[in-house]
Subunit: 463 residues, 2 copies
Amino acid sequence: MEEELAEILNQAERAAGNRDSQLVISLCKGLHPADLASLYEDLDRDSREFLVDTLGATEFSEVLAEIPDTLVEGALDHFEPKEQREILASIPDDDRVDILQDVSESKRRDFIDLLDEEEQDRTRALLRYDEDSAGGRMTTQVGKIFACMTVKEALDHLRPNLDIVETMARIFVIDVEQRLIGLIRLRDLAFNPWDTPVRDILTPEEHTILASADQEDAAKMLARYDMALVPVVDESDRLLGVITPDDAIEILEEESTEDIEKGAGIAGEQSEETYLNTGVIVHFKRRFGWLLILALLAIASGYVMLRFESVLNEAYLLALFLPMVVAAGGNTGGQASTMVIRAMALGELDPEDTRRVAWKELRLGMLSGLLLGSAIALVAIFILPLFRPELPAGVSFATFGLAVAVALTAQVASSTVIGALLPIGARAIKLDPAVVAAPAITTIVDASGMVIYFTVARTMMGL
Amino acid sequence: MEEELAEILNQAERAAGNRDSQLVISLCKGLHPADLASLYEDLDRDSREFLVDTLGATEFSEVLAEIPDTLVEGALDHFEPKEQREILASIPDDDRVDILQDVSESKRRDFIDLLDEEEQDRTRALLRYDEDSAGGRMTTQVGKIFACMTVKEALDHLRPNLDIVETMARIFVIDVEQRLIGLIRLRDLAFNPWDTPVRDILTPEEHTILASADQEDAAKMLARYDMALVPVVDESDRLLGVITPDDAIEILEEESTEDIEKGAGIAGEQSEETYLNTGVIVHFKRRFGWLLILALLAIASGYVMLRFESVLNEAYLLALFLPMVVAAGGNTGGQASTMVIRAMALGELDPEDTRRVAWKELRLGMLSGLLLGSAIALVAIFILPLFRPELPAGVSFATFGLAVAVALTAQVASSTVIGALLPIGARAIKLDPAVVAAPAITTIVDASGMVIYFTVARTMMGL
């Protein structure tokens, strides 16, 4: 199935390259708009124009909502104003607003002027909401009926709007002030006697979201309560629109991608374009900032190494386990912070849980550190001597191995706790834990690991 | 809103601790099952029993599907067989199967025996599918009508099943062999004349998934094509059930969490319990494996340090920038692999794109490396001399700074390419890129960074 689709897309890509419009049309016929959008993205500039011309405005209007924001303006430019109007009028209003948010301001004005007056007003109203708010994401095309209606009146009221209402999974019941008082399912209308008052069969809606709220909150609400639609309301509880499950899925996936990227020190918003279609400069801008900061911070570890020159000079064999002790701290700190950041993202950790987190991670760190330390001590005491490396006079392999093990245990235990507490601390001072934790942990844990290692070695080996 | 809920849950937790059943009942009344499940999870063992007894079987049955798998058996044990039957019979069959998958085998048999015969058969059939397959996740409670029906007949056919059909957003049209031939929306039934043949108003369903397919494929299909339901079929195209949007959201969130955790070297499946409710030993098991492997691999870097003892001895100032050069490679390699792994997870990269990825990352690496190198060269040439550190005779700060810069550029450029290509290579030999990439990159890039640094320094500084 999936390979079949990939094959069709590849063939269509070649056909577009050869300007074979008949083949392109026959291959694209029956493809889902989401698949056509993938095809469009994979083409070069000229082939894209060819594809759009070949498919025509009607076919292409649904594709437009699926292609990455940055390509939208170029795609719309292929068309005459008459066709642009046709496209913009035919797509759901949340998709239209999405598209208009992505074009230049002058273009946006031109496009809005193409619409009829009612659509202009609705579009301008939606554009006032922040792009990342529930209001900026919602669709206003929702089934609404008044509480005073009967089932028959409700059905008659809904019938003319069938085409423009994106989803009828839930129909919202409002009063004359447009305030939301409940919802019914279409099935309740379909299977109840026509003279039943709507008021008698509605279910109160417990969960609504403010238009000004973060779109992520709406998506999480939908996911937590398995809602078919999340109603978006204003401060007076008037129904403005809904967030749909496909919006929620998109929002949650974007957030996950950004969390993954932040953990790797990649800054800024995730590009909507695919990895390959994103230019080197765009990639560079998102990655270089943290690279530079982390590089400068890493000089702290170098400074520690300079300060302990004498220890390393006297027992150069310490160099063999130095990278390991430092890295083990970074690894365990990274694990702990990843766990805690994800738990915070999923809403599992309150600020008052700090002590429980620290206690849990301290036990974990001690356990891991002791086991790792024992493993390395065994290596240092029983395997290392076989290679006859040099140790300072008076220092046995047992002492050396024990020193490494103690340092490793201390480093792992402390790094685990640091890794767990840093994201909590970052949140307490209103910083984004996912952004702050990784670089801070690297710096602190690397430098402190060297201090621990050299100090323990100097003390235990009497250097 | 959210704080209000947290406050109610906190009060209920305290009330359960004080065994105040009246307060518990009044606080829990009106709470969503998902919220009651959070409350249940936050309680200690005895308070959990108290909560379940206080709420009773009817109220608790919906909560059961929302609590983590590992707690289910304990929760069910609170009840008498009669109540257990009541609970198991009242929940949707996909939730029931989920629950039965989580209890011990003997318990599973006992529970199944409680059900009536028809439910027993259906439950056993569902239990045969792999837990992670579309069949293992689907619900069989789906609206089905036959193509030969009229709208009136279809409505009459659906009416008795209203309560047990989980979703009516799409009604599936089948032939007498149960093969799926299309779908209609409830609105098509509600708004069409009663004598319309169903066959005339159905839409063919393009996208179906095999019951044996990975549940992730079903979730991705739903997300990509904005589907209200994904129909699950057998090899003969017979309709078996559906995947719902809330299943899809859960599946995608689990996958994202696992990807995030894999990137940090955390192994195994994500625990369904919250971070705080997961025991130290469970956390330990998921984290220690990679810690140990990475620690042993890091000895490779230590070995490189041993081999270059003479270089470090002659110009110990090199230690100042050693951690930085090594870390810069790890950071940029980590960024590149994160980007590539996510692009692969989103289905953006085919194997034939390898050269394009390498070329893009090489340019990125060169650009980042040159800029980082220049920055560090400026630090080494203009700021470092102010502190009057020691350099070997005949080596100027300019030479020293240039050597560090060249090594840094080479390290960043090569690590970027390595970071990008390793996940692609892992996939080519059928390994999980997210699991393999992080440790492999750390090991390779750390050791190669030391080799590059010391070799460049020795050559350029004539040591």
